[in-house]
Symmetry: C2
Subunit: 287 residues, 2 copies
């Protein structure tokens, strides 16, 4: 997928101005056509329904951890991972045009965003927290209400998108707050520069099964980046294992390790081989 | 912890009648003193504050997966796992005394409970879903409102606790729906019959680190039951690994494996050695 003469239509979950939109623009460029979808289910369905060419799904936040719904929907879907992108998450307090920090009494946002600003709320105990559907949507609501007692926590793009007033910056407890997104496409084509590989498998239930599944990588010095387990529906206490590993282009160790692994699993699927995000330690959230 | 002459005070998250209360009663008996706490943070703080002798925290649901907040708070806490219990999750549609299935227009519950009843909502598209803080609390609200257009999704104990009327049963998409809870106590004492061990560690970042960490168990034929990874705050893309394994009482392989593992980790903590839940495949949710 490239944002060339025919700019792709990319679906993302949330309202315009969401962190997902920042991620889409960073990965595909400003000329991308943005297709906001209200839920994760609608996001994953967008390509099949023909309303988008690809979908951008959050996989992991460095504070909140894996986005479990994304892993489950990835498993149900036939989409492939074509790229990933990492964006810094910077939380701002955003009010309507008539608000100041002193007029604000309630602060609304997605529960994960609220939870990432504990220190701010501890320092301002008069502020009441209200859980909302998403960060950018909260800004839209607050601005539309015209109520100076309401503010939202969201990113800079959300503030700009809805004409909100930025009342405070850097609300997050931890600066090392990043979200990693996956670009999902219908094509299994491996893009140029692919150096990361994602797969999912199930294991026979016997002692040492996971150990033996990791052996093909360890024996060849291949680096695992992440392991995530998700329940198998209908089979209590059984798991799907998702693995990310470094897999340089044309490295012959990778197909050899995958062939070995496949023989040690009861189900196996390659989710994608794609260029890893260059991790940016300090990128301005405003693009 | 036993529900003997001095019945323990057990903290749980949620309102009276929550699935956590069912779990507490199943594990500790009806004479237990129940200490409801509004949030997970308050739950984990209850023992240190002296308002409870132990805390019961959900660790995992067989459909929704790991309860990430519990893992993170377990890491921050100094509590030990003393027992576990598994209860079946059966969802009911519960209205107020004046309601019938035909009067209901909106259905409120915890988002995870709503998501576990997709087929029910697909079959009744006129019902509007409303996310709420918790299952039992939704029943309390619905009954208190006296509004026959409102209903909640919750368990049988919640319906009984608040005098709700059961309008439909077995709403859940999958019958194999269980939640596993951990009993947390301040004492590191290993209870009689302990046959499961939980630990958490961090690994050096080099290829094969996880493989080598699992070797002490695989080499001795010790069975891993679960692996869960959670992000290390402030160190993007680094993880805490939580492991559950079978560890029969007085099995000399266990301390030997743990000693080996400890040398391969950069941090290591045993969370508890406790009797595993006898898994019940068909237990009536009504106790």
């Amino acid at each position: 997928v490239s944002a060339g003469p025919t700019a792709p239509r990319v679906a993302f979950q949330g309202a315009r101005g969401a962190f997902s939109e920042e991620a889409a623009v960073q990965l595909l460029g400003r000329q991308v056509t943005l297709v906001p979808r209200p839920t994760f289910e609608a996001l994953f369905a967008a390509v099949g329904e023909g309303v988008a060419d690809c979908a951008l799904a959050p996989a992991e936040n460095t504070l909140a951890g894996a986005v479990q719904r994304t892993y489950d929907l990835l498993l149900e879907s036939s989409l492939h991972i074509a790229a990933e992108v990492v964006i810094p998450v910077r939380h701002l307090l955003v009010g309507g045009p008539g608000s100041t920090f002193e007029t604000v009494k309630t602060v609304e946002s997605h529960p994960v965003a609220l939870a990432q600003c504990e220190r701010f709320f501890a320092a301002h105990p008069h502020l009441r927290r209200l859980a909302a559907e998403d960060t950018a949507g909260s800004v839209a609501e607050v601005v539309r209400s015209g109520d100076p007692t309401r503010a939202a926590i969201a990113g800079r793009l959300a503030a700009e998108t809805y004409g909100g007033r930025i009342l405070r910056e850097a609300l997050e407890d931890h600066r090392e707050n990043y979200t990693r997104f996956l670009l999902l496409t219908p094509s299994p084509r491996v893009p140029e520069g692919a150096d990361k590989l994602s797969l999912v498998f199930q294991l026979p239930h016997r002692p040492g099964a996971l150990y033996h599944a990791l052996e093909p990588f360890a024996a060849r010095g291949l680096d695992l980046l992440k392991i995530e387990s998700r329940p198998v529906r209908g089979e209590p206490w059984r798991y799907h294992f998702f693995l990310d590993l470094r897999a340089a282009p044309d490295d012959p160790r990778t197909p050899a390790a995958l062939a070995d692994l496949r023989q040690r699993t009861t189900s196996f699927r390659q989710l994608g081989h794609y260029p890893s995000a260059r991790q940016r330690n300090h990128v301005d959230g405003s693009q």
